[in-house]
Symmetry: D4
């Protein structure tokens, strides 16, 4: 039997991130973070966990809005959206976007959905000597990656690559996110 | 706003498979199939879709039961469970299992969760001249792959590799599935 | 100096395909095929060749129309569009689409843009003993791949994967193509 | 003929590590290290060497204990165990664990079983200018990797990824190790 | 209908780069940069965008000239040319060139065509703490990569690897570029 | 505590193969097969399992003998030895051996150590319509792969590639095996 | 000391191929085959073996001639040349060549230099049930691959892909080979 | 016609390295370097270039001597030898060598044969800010890589990985090299 009550499993969605904030520096946790909290009540309880996934329709809406923003600013970019499992939800390569933009956008999206923050915030933490989370395969800490959360739970990452600075890439990604914000919880 | 009513989106979960059965041969559809049906009601409706995911606890229970069955039969196997996004949920390599078992078990699990049937059933369809679904990357149509469904929706695939025949591999996978059946919808 | 006269290089766009048709079987060449014919007039003539590329806007239009067609038919599919260089133009994974659909859709798109025909037509040719073009890496000859041509020149391939038969996948891809036909030459 | 006396080949198991300690810094060698010492007595002696491998049962016990510890602390992590050959022994992705956790946990496990120390200790050494062992492919020097030794010989590495700090990941891995310590030599 | 007027889409070809220059440092933008500016005029306008691609003949001319320059200087190098989609246009491994030269030349070419500058210029920017564009997969910021532009639009990148310094590699690449300059717009 | 009695775990080493023989055809099981049988006695029993691994010295002896046999017959081959975990033990590319020989030899060795038989025997079984074990990644069923067993347990696979027929490749591999037979149990 | 007498090591260059011919069918060995025969005279003799490698200049000449032939016939192809170690010597993608042509040309070149025959001849042998050399990774047995020999020793393979039939691809490759025949021994 | 006079093409074998030395720092060029100098005399001259390749027999001798040295010092290492094309010549994994040793040894060998120096010398140069040759894929600049030259021409690289310091790895590689020094020119 699945636990499917209205009071869902997401009891303390921000706990994990709060600790992470401490680890990564003083940046405030503007985006609400992680997946449904793991069950604590033993094996008998349930065999499935409900997870929110960004819809294909919302992904198209985000990509369309982001690309319009890019075109308005004469930027040639690629937009990638990945879900919380890391699987591709959407890729849209803009007109004239460079060959490096697909992979850089993908990695920014992956990084944002992995750690629950924008890549620009996260990038401030991966400095100095010794190992950092930037050593984890598949990540990229340049600006342009933005997490998508619904009801305090991470559901996707948006990544944009191709503009001459990460700030511009991020603004384009945020324009995409804004187009669906009203339809998230 | 997420659509989160009790009457969920899974209106006709078997429709897709019924057609597939026609395509793939006379094999009966013993396992109920696919994901929540896609929304038809336009962009405004929702930005997230609820998806059931097999819990880590259930995955451990499946693997433990399957491995016990394998040991009882003196089989040296690997068990792999992947979720509906194709991501790894669990890998357990048994004592003495051959080096080919991890990848073969993974592909059987992937195939079962992709097409919503056991790989032994599916394998009967991939014969004859010309292209078949066996040409799709990541698949393997030897016996030993079993889909996991909850409430008529595919949530995972179990794959077992290493026994001297696909029938034995499948029996081991089924023993794993049986251990959680009561906890699925 | 670039040769940039109005009478472009595409002198005999169908010649190549006519021969291919002979090779691949009796299937008629419904889609006009290949790139600008190569220059014959020696080194001095030109350093660049003009190539038509499907616009990002058209790619979004195709994906949107194809996905609407899929939703209408309760199909859970992924749509991929690749350009004539093989690079990704667009990926859109539909709600509930299986984990195998991204790669199968990509390969169908790749195959269609490589050979200038639908994968269903091409699939009839890759039978019998001995080597066939189905041995070429990156290809897949299941139905669902449709080439896009403009002015007699191939510009992209659309691939759809996830429906229970290749015919349905192809119909979805054709619905996508239809949405931009009036804007192609 | 195999040399199979009771006085096994592991004559000076710690020698190698003692030197390594010198190389890597002042960190004490809390975990006993490497494989059976290589034979010195020429070709005639033996064709096989006995090697201890962590059992599948022990791997399940470790994963179960580690995941319970993670759930207790509201952490969403993946646990990976690799053997001394680098082959996967176990992967368990926890509920809500991010997409980066499988690979980061695997690399921590790989690093711990390669160098015979926790990744947190090792991480202190890979700083400063110039090449370090962090340049070796497959490694990751963030906290969360713990070696498993039996009778002074390395048999496996446990890696945990997903908690907001490496200290927490390592504590979870240590909880897993503790569950089998009494059954190691 | 394709927009195919003489006043092409390339309205402000240098705009993007101007911003990039600000981002990357004071280096002057000696090479004209990016692709046709994206359309701003909505969906109805066009389904294809015209793109200039370096011809095979020009690629051969570049490689021949570059290799002659290398031989003259007793350098053992590989020359790679990639187009703006990142696809290979030409690879020529010189006599006695080391095994690392193919991939290093390819990455220099890729980097130059991605960012529209020589890799030696770009290399000056990827220093200091924190993430840089050098973290983007497929790039290499050693000297020897030179972009090729036609009419203010990037069409290819030339990469040379194998000489004992990046300056020499770049001089060889520039000798190749010079051989076709008169035939570019 | 490790179970380390003299009566080792290898109770019925041939059981698995006997069944496999039935599956794969009438070929006799000339080589004794698989790893230590898995434990049946519950979690408390042990945390490590003893495994025999081919020594480096024996690997060198095998390679040297095989290469001498090849040279005697004017064959240009590569010899690869992999252990039961699938990890490389030895690669030796002979003078003038073709570029395809390393991978073909590796896959033959992998196949032999996975299934406990020569690849020439196994190759007779992978015929006819429908899926076979030849679909498992990493395998190759051309002659030239020979398993190595010690005390009824598989410890390695020897693969040879490059001779004009699989029979010759296998004879070379057998010459290598013969050089250490007296030193196996 | 290197053996560097005039009577080189290539004593019986055709022996190996003669046997291969028997294996692969009745096709005559039009191209002289393999590398310097391996040394038979023990360890003391030599540490290096002289090998002929196709020069970069010859590779350019071949590619130029092949591409001219292709342009003359209105074919859009890619030409790849690999040396006997399997390493890339040259890649030239023709104007309008499809995205599949680079890899198919590379594999044809690899196959021709691996087995010392044209891929069209070899393709006749890879039919019927059971394993064949077409299962070896990196190979492709469609027409268009031609071996290059010098003094009875294989030095390179030329592969052409993109024409509508393998016969045309092979004629283009042969035109390339013809351009250097007078300069081979 | 091949140029095959006694006065071979290697006119100024050290020239390239001399410049490299300047680039990389003050380290003396103890190992003689690069391949036959490229031809300068136009297309008609030759179609093949003679190249020295380390023999399989010499590779075995090197590996045997290196492994004996390792065993004597109780080191658990892997030895890899690659030729000047980057292709594998030999891999030998020692008893108890860690899973990271194969790839680290391979990269050291690759680096040494690419740049014509020991990796310990080269490692001193890859420090400081900005891009270095350590960014080139496939390289590793930890001690343990040693180039092999014959007659002033690079023929192979030896790489050793697994000892607790690069100095020890290099001493083992040098012991291997010493075993064939008398047989090189």
């Amino acid at each position: 039997m699945t636990t499917r009550s209205r009071t869902r499993l997401v009891a303390r969605p921000l706990a994990g991130l709060a600790i992470m904030a401490g680890t990564l520096g003083a940046a405030s946790a503007v985006t609400s973070p992680a997946q449904a909290a793991p069950a604590e009540n033993g094996r008998a309880a349930q065999a499935v966990v409900q997870t929110d996934v960004l819809s294909a329709d919302a992904a198209l809406t985000i990509a369309d809005a982001a690309m319009k923003e890019a075109v308005k600013g004469k930027q040639r970019v690629t937009v990638v959206i990945v879900d919380r499992s890391g699987a591709t939800r959407l890729v849209l390569k803009g007109d004239g976007a460079g060959p490096q933009t697909e992979e850089s956008a993908r990695r920014k999206a992956f990084t944002a959905v992995s750690f629950g923050r924008t890549t620009s915030e996260l990038g401030k933490s991966v400095t100095g000597e010794g190992p950092t989370i930037a050593d984890i395969p598949g990540t990229l800490f340049l600006g342009g990656g933005v997490p998508v959360a619904s009801g305090g739970v991470l559901v996707a990452g948006i990544g944009v690559g191709g503009a001459p600075s990460g700030d511009i890439d991020e603004a384009i990604a945020q324009a995409g996110l804004k187009a669906v914000t009203g339809r998230l919880r």
